[in-house]
């Protein structure tokens, strides 16, 4: 059974991708109490920007840096000019505005790049395979996984070892108190929102070549990311990590063992968590 290690690795790769997306989502939720429905749309934009940049320059490393930067500014602008304006009306309006942004991004993508899948051609050494303990495994998937680990480590360092990290974590707990202490919390919100968008865009850049780049990719991963943060507990980074691993492996082995049921497995797990612990595995009781 040489299948099992391969599927295990596949699961890890997908978990890495899910974590990149859900960590931004859960961080923004924890801080601003806003569920950003446009989060996956940023991921899709990352993939499409990277596609265009690759066609123009052929340099994958460049798009790995430029696209998240672009997404950072788009995300920050959405927070500053749209979200902040409806903040006073409450959560329903905030949800609706991110919903509208997601809708507009999806329609723009269909408009600009067309409503069909695009293939991203990498070339170079990334498209090869590597011999891993007698097992041929595509280099690109390993690269994705290491990217995810690298980004997570950087994020953990920033969050737990720096001053900015302390402010962000404190704002997750009680943003009003942090504001009273003289810290510009609205600026922190804009920054974190933009950072989440950049993370999501980064995930899109690395996911583009492996998963197809098409206008439905946002909705697809959004639901998976939602399931992750429901299982992990909303606002919890550790929960997002654990749940990403669970969903990644579940999807991968589900496809191997019960191909017909693989989609339903994820929802069954979610339903089970909802019944046993409605606030999620690592979530705080409301």
């Amino acid at each position: 059974m040489s299948d099992i290690p391969v599927f295990f690795l596949h699961g890890l790769v997908y978990a890495g991708l899910l974590f990149l997306i859900s960590s931004g989502l859960t961080l923004v939720f924890g801080m601003m109490n806003v569920l950003n429905l446009a989060h996956a749309a940023f991921y899709m934009l990352g993939a499409y920007f990277s596609y265009s940049l690759l066609n123009a320059t052929g340099n994958f490393w460049l798009s790995l840096i430029v696209c998240p930067l672009l997404l950072f500014f788009i995300g920050a602008a959405v927070e500053r000019f749209l979200l902040r304006r409806v903040h006073v009306y409450g959560h329903v309006q905030e949800l609706l505005i991110t919903f509208g942004v997601a809708y507009i991004i999806t329609e723009s993508v269909k408009w600009i790049w067309g409503n069909y899948p695009l293939g991203v051609n990498l070339g170079g050494f990334l498209s090869g395979s590597v011999n891993l303990f007698g097992l041929f495994y595509p280099i690109y998937r390993l690269f994705m996984f290491f990217c995810a680990i690298l980004i997570s480590l950087i994020m953990a360092t920033v969050l737990y070892k720096t001053r900015i990290g302390i402010i962000v974590r404190a704002s997750v707990d009680d943003s009003e108190m942090v504001n009273t202490l003289g810290i510009n919390v609205p600026l922190v919100f804009t920054g974190v929102f933009g950072f989440g968008a950049a993370l999501s865009g980064f995930a899109g850049v690395i996911a583009g070549p492996l998963l197809t780049t098409y206008p439905g990719m946002a909705a697809e991963i959004l639901v998976d990311a939602f399931v992750v943060i429901v299982i992990g507990g909303m606002g919890s980074l550790v929960g997002a990590l654990v749940a990403s691993l669970m969903i990644g492996e579940l999807q991968s082995f589900g496809a191997l063992l019960f191909p017909k049921l693989s989609l339903a497995l994820m929802y069954m797990l979610m339903a089970a968590v909802l019944i046993i612990k409605p606030s999620g595995l690592f979530g705080e009781e409301q």
Binding site: F29, N33, V34, L35, L37, L82, R85, V86, Y89, H91, V92, Q93, L95, L96, I97, F99, G100, V101, Y103, I104, E107, S108, W111, A219, L222, V223, F226, V227, I229, V230, M234, K260, L263, A264, Y267, M270, A271, L274, I275, P278
Partner: protein
């Protein structure tokens, strides 16, 4: 809780809408009649959605799951049970939707706010996945076609395939259900839902089980959406994967936000505007969903009360001016 005055108001509106609905299709083209039928169906869908969003304050991004279950059930039972009547199929369909609403509702019972929105989206995705994958029953991406059974009332034989006949059937059934919804918002149950939205703690303190009120409302809106969905299939004599997709949930959100969540009539207005706008814009450009998205953002930012709110404040302004003038006259 329904008093004499509001009952008279209710009857008045009902008769007014009925007359408009009966007269409207006379002398217009078949295409327009089909469009009107669609509006009535979507008006019910939007009204059911607004019972959740406007009355209970629950934002759902998965209302199409019930619409889709209704749409598919009608198609499936008509294809598999030979000799099933029109109303039989509709009855089975709404019963199945009610059960689905109860199953999903019991899982969502303890959630509201953001987690509720997120979970409804996830459940919608699950229903969508089932509809795509379960090819032998739902036809997968190909959808299902139906043969519409005629209605035999004994004294009259109604050819449901005729667009105008189908319009009147829809007007009668869906129209009266919409009126019933209006009545529902005035009943003790409907008021309870409103009060739970306003102050849940107090309602609990008074002795209401707020979770049960929410569940009943959720199941009721599911039932209404299922009815709308089954008429959607009957209208097109076809159902496809789009009926149960998140896109369909998106459409109802757009309709209700454009129309306004603050009043009963708002979603109906939203459905009219959306469908006519879609009909108009799709002739001009393929990019009409993009324009809809811009309108949506604009409404959220600048007209949070929607079109009905706009009309209300306009009316208040007129009335205010009138009051002012009459009070000035009084003083003189």
């Amino acid at each position: 809780m329904i008093n004499q005055r509001s009952f008279a108001q209710f009857l008045g509106w009902g008769i007014f809408v009925l007359i408009v609905g009966v007269v409207l299709p006379l002398g217009v083209r078949q295409y327009q009649v089909a469009l009107l039928t669609e509006i009535i169906i979507f008006a019910l869908f939007a009204v059911s959605y607004n019972l959740l969003l406007g009355y209970a304050g629950l934002l759902s991004f998965g209302h199409a799951m019930f619409f889709g279950v209704g749409a598919y059930t009608v198609a499936i039972v008509l294809n598999h049970i030979s000799g099933l009547s029109f109303f039989g199929a509709v009855m089975i369909s709404v019963m199945v939707t009610t059960v689905a609403g109860f199953a999903v509702g019991s899982l969502l019972l303890r959630h509201k706010g953001v987690p509720f929105a997120l979970l409804t989206l996830a459940f919608n995705a699950l229903f969508y996945a089932i509809a795509t994958k379960w090819h032998s029953i739902t036809g997968g991406d190909d959808g299902l076609s139906i043969r519409l059974p005629d209605i035999n009332l004994g004294f009259a034989h109604l050819k449901t395939g005729d667009i105008t006949v189908f319009y009147y059937i829809t007007l009668l059934i869906i129209g009266s259900v919409i009126l019933f919804c209006w009545y529902f918002t005035r009943t003790a149950m409907g008021q309870t839902v409103l009060l739970v939205r306003e102050n849940e703690e107090r309602m609990k303190f008074v002795g209401y089980n707020t979770n049960v009120s929410r569940l009943i409302l959720f199941v009721f809106t599911g039932f209404l959406a299922g009815l709308a969905g089954s008429f959607y299939t009957l209208h097109y004599q076809f159902t496809s994967i789009s009926a149960i997709s998140i896109d369909m949930s998106t459409i109802v959100v757009l309709m209700v936000i454009i129309g306004g969540t603050g009043s009963f009539i708002g979603p109906i207005l939203g459905a009219c505007v959306y469908i006519y706008l879609q009909d108009f814009l799709s002739d001009i450009t393929d990019r009409w969903p993009f324009i809809m998205g811009l309108i949506f953002i604009f409404m959220i930012l600048y007209v949070p009360r929607g079109l009905s709110g706009l009309i209300d404040s306009f009316g208040e302004r007129l009335r205010g001016r009138w009051h002012l003038r009459s009070s000035v006259e009084m003083e003189e």
